[in-house]
């Protein structure tokens, strides 16, 4: 399934998500089972299947990482474990250092530091997304261009992992604050 075709979206990285959400809502409404109550069994089944595909397409396109994966796949490039290049040593070094700094900040319960590290990584993830936007802005990239863009997908996943961790630490701190406010020792 090509999620871009499914929702009538252009094959680009920067999509108008609010417009796309509207398209998804309209399509879902048109495919709602109530609209097919009088239809034959096969037509009902077809509508149900299409509704499921439309939902899946929206879930893919709203998520930057899954959207990038779908873009590479739509251009005929396989993604995933064995198909993507290894991250460069310099990049891994940077990720490792940031993860250690985050672990230290967590241990020290230094929430300001946690937030600052999160903001830094968030900005870098945005910069990677801008490069993906540029890479897919001018129609289908060449094979060489695609290969040069592919490491960015891995970088986004490393950043996502980092930001998930930031979120978990922030939740942990909130729970601790709530427990403290109730007079319960954490």
């Amino acid at each position: 399934m090509d999620p871009f075709a499914m929702l009538g979206a252009p094959r680009r990285f920067d999509l108008d998500l609010s417009a796309l959400e509207k398209t998804h809502r309209e399509l879902s409404r048109a495919l709602h089972p109530d609209k097919f109550a009088q239809a034959g069994a096969s037509e009902r089944r077809a509508a149900l299947e299409k509704a499921a595909s439309v939902n899946e397409a929206w879930r893919v396109l709203r998520d930057p990482i899954r959207r990038a994966e779908a873009l590479f796949q739509a251009e005929g490039l396989a993604v995933g474990e064995t198909n993507e290049p290894k991250a460069s040593p310099a990049f891994l070094m940077e990720v490792m250092e940031e993860r250690e700094a985050l672990a230290d900040a967590r241990a020290a319960r230094d929430l300001a530091k946690v937030k600052a590290l999160g903001a830094g990584v968030s900005a870098r993830a945005k910069a990677v997304e801008s490069r993906l936007t540029a890479g897919f802005a001018g129609g289908s990239p060449s094979r060489d261009e695609l290969a040069a863009l592919l490491p960015l997908l891995g970088e986004l996943r490393f950043y996502r992992r980092f930001l998930d961790e930031v979120e978990a630490i922030e939740e942990e701190a909130e729970e601790r604050a709530l427990a403290g406010a109730r007079g319960v020792s954490p």
Partner: protein, 130 residues
């Protein structure tokens, strides 16, 4: 997903977590990552003059299986000759930890980390002789 008991044991009580001095010429550092999931793993070895791995440390940011794979790897390579450590295959780790198919890449990462640490150690030794 259900983890095997051995994975849980290693993930909750990881062995040999820490760092060795990466500037030390007898220390090899391997740094690897899995772009498909965003895990990063650092594995270090300290090798004696007669080529035996005296100490091994690791630091892994990733799932329980990735932590367990690297923890087990450090346990296994300690006391081994470099050549013996180099022969460890990811399937050995898979079998020991009963890793499910979706977690096999964690064991691949650990094998890569061992090899990359050994390569770094050898490069340092070669540079010393040169």
């Amino acid at each position: 997903m259900a983890y095997s008991e051995k994975v849980i044991d290693h993930a909750e009580n990881p062995r040999n977590v820490g760092t060795l001095d990466k500037e030390d010429p007898s220390v090899g550092t391997g740094l690897v990552g899995a772009p498909a999931c965003g895990d990063v793993m650092r594995l270090q070895i300290k090798v004696s003059d007669d080529g035996v791995i005296q100490d091994a440390k690791f630091k892994t940011f990733g799932c329980g299986s990735a932590i367990a794979s690297s923890s087990l790897a450090t346990e296994w390579i300690k006391g081994k000759k470099v050549e013996e450590a180099e022969a460890i295959k990811n399937v050995d780790i898979v079998n020991e930890l009963n890793l499910p198919p979706v977690k096999i890449h964690c064991s691949v990462l650990a094998e890569d980390a061992i090899k990359s640490a050994i390569a770094d150690y050898r490069a340092k030794q070669a540079a010393k002789k040169a």
